[in-house]
Symmetry: C2
Subunit: 333 residues, 2 copies
């Protein structure tokens, strides 16, 4: 039987096309590093804010470069005096029309920062505003990580950089579609069990945290209209878990970076208090051709591939087309 | 009628006692500034993590000092190469026994950082480990803000520092108990309406965000066993609001710092989609003796005073004693 909403070749091409941006990315980042910079700021809101958190935790694990995730709306109000001459801001926008990001880019540039934008539509005002523009659809996290990795490589913090990308270019795209194929039965079963949940909990940590936060909010809440709460694995034990009982639906995302142990702690504890939990562990997926030491760099992409299968079946089970919105970009607010 | 769980004199004494720590705090911070430092890291988990986020956003609005909130468990796994010689770590613990904080303090010290700890019980191992110890119960946010303000004052970023604390020492403690008195009827009405909510949403921004996050998690989830989701005001519009309809219980915390406009945006929009919302605006409370320009510095304390009244009545309405726990420090996990 054919898999729902799955076009194998298109997905392979999409990932390989994103990886092929690396030459262009490196030209930009190498130029920046040659000129000198003081810090690296990941700017976003909603989904891009989530990706910004992922890029930040990825860099923190390896790098001494000053870097952080900045929420565009918070920057526009609170401001940030660390953003100025020498700051490199990296952002992304599918439409180029997210008003908070457009205004925040302008504010950062006025303060002296340079902006690298992955603005998918290169005819938009935002695409023309940014100092460095790369237009290519989807794969936001992969684009961000390629930028982060090049900064770290140039800073002498990533000796295995070339070897890793060689493997990714050869094997990653196919490995990810194989994850989707393997996960499809699970996704179907999960959707049949949880499509009518009143409230679903998602727990994650490390470079999975952005994925956990945005999966709960941008997919289940926004696209499926199902209530969720997301929580980081360490914070789960500092209050939230008191409301978990036998039938509370809890899904734990387990990745392979340094914070894996924080999610494992939840996995080890939860059977004592709950029978309605699910563990999605990226380690259960093969990723042929990818060396063990590089799996942590892409475990959020593996999780995303698994979640794609859940989404396809959730849409089917709920009879709720994922493209409809009640309010988002439908009303003035 | 006497107010539930309210001891006016004890609360006044508690706040004034915290404010009286300033001499000791300043001696420590002035010494640090004289020796020199590179950055300021607020370390916590659960409630202290929330307070750390509040101290960070407070400093970001005014200061160019490199500062951020570090989650203790994340630091223990991902690490942070920005923490080293020259880093000042500030943390807090009621019991001194929070294992993640104890280990994170040790790790930061091993990396060369100096730690200022507000460890309430000064006989604990943690109290003896930290480089600078101040033992005084409650008022965590006030303690953190006094430290932040002194760093900013010494950095030439806070001209009104002396005048503000003069006002606080004269008026703050009484102003806060007056808030509680004024909020008590509201708290009772709110509790009668919401004690049996299946799921309650809390929205906040700026120095209210930590309050929003921890109020939802550390009070309603942990102490009242009621489900909640907290979301920042800007992120509300980037997905979460799609699940809000007529009867969804949503409470918006509105403070008075630079992010006030972000919460006002939610307040202005929500009547179109919901009839079950509540706005708690700190501007509705007088704060006698406090100049308008200093209200932003304490609006999270005003919110906390209002929430105290909600808690007292929620405990009464739910017949759920707030000191009981199912799992927290009851089980091994």
């Amino acid at each position: 039987m054919e898999m729902l909403k799955f076009n194998e070749q298109a997905q392979i091409d999409s990932v390989n096309g994103a990886l092929a941006l690396r030459g262009k990315i490196n030209e930009i980042v190498d130029g920046i590093c040659k000129e000198g910079y003081t810090n690296v700021c990941w700017l976003g809101i909603g989904g891009t804010w989530a990706s910004s958190m992922q890029a930040t935790v990825h860099m923190k694990e390896m790098s001494a470069i000053e870097t952080w995730a900045e929420n565009a709306a918070e920057y526009l109000t609170t401001g940030n005096k660390r953003i100025g001459k020498g700051t490199i801001v990296i952002t992304s926008s599918v439409t180029g029309s997210t008003i908070e990001v457009v205004q925040a880019v302008k504010k950062a540039q006025d303060a002296g920062a340079k902006v690298l934008g992955f603005i998918d539509i290169d005819t938009t005002e935002l695409a023309k505003m940014v100092d460095y523009e790369i237009a290519y659809s989807a794969n936001e996290q992969l684009k961000f990580f390629m930028v982060a990795d090049r900064f770290m490589f140039n800073n002498g913090e990533f000796a295995d950089y070339e070897r890793m990308y060689e493997e990714f270019e050869k094997y990653l795209a196919v490995a990810l579609v194989e994850v989707e194929k393997k996960a499809d039965d699970f996704g179907k079963e999960f959707a049949k069990k949880h499509w009518n949940d009143e409230l679903h909990y998602f727990v994650g940590a490390g470079n999975q945290w952005g994925a956990t936060y945005s999966y709960a909010m941008c997919y289940w809440e926004e696209q499926l209209w199902i209530k969720t709460k997301s929580i980081t694995a360490p914070e789960f034990f500092h209050g939230m878990f008191e409301i978990v009982t036998r039938d509370t639906p809890v899904t734990i995302f387990v990745g392979e970076d340094a914070q894996r142990s924080l999610s494992e702690r939840v996995v080890n504890f939860i059977p004592r208090i709950c029978k309605n939990y699910t563990v999605i562990d990226t380690k259960d997926y093969e990723l042929k051709g990818i060396s063990p030491e590089f799996r942590s760099h892409i475990s959020h992409l593996v999780m995303h591939a698994v979640n794609n299968r859940i989404d396809a079946h959730m849409e089917e089970e709920t009879c709720h087309p994922m493209e409809i919105r009640r309010y988002y970009r439908k009303l003035n607010y």
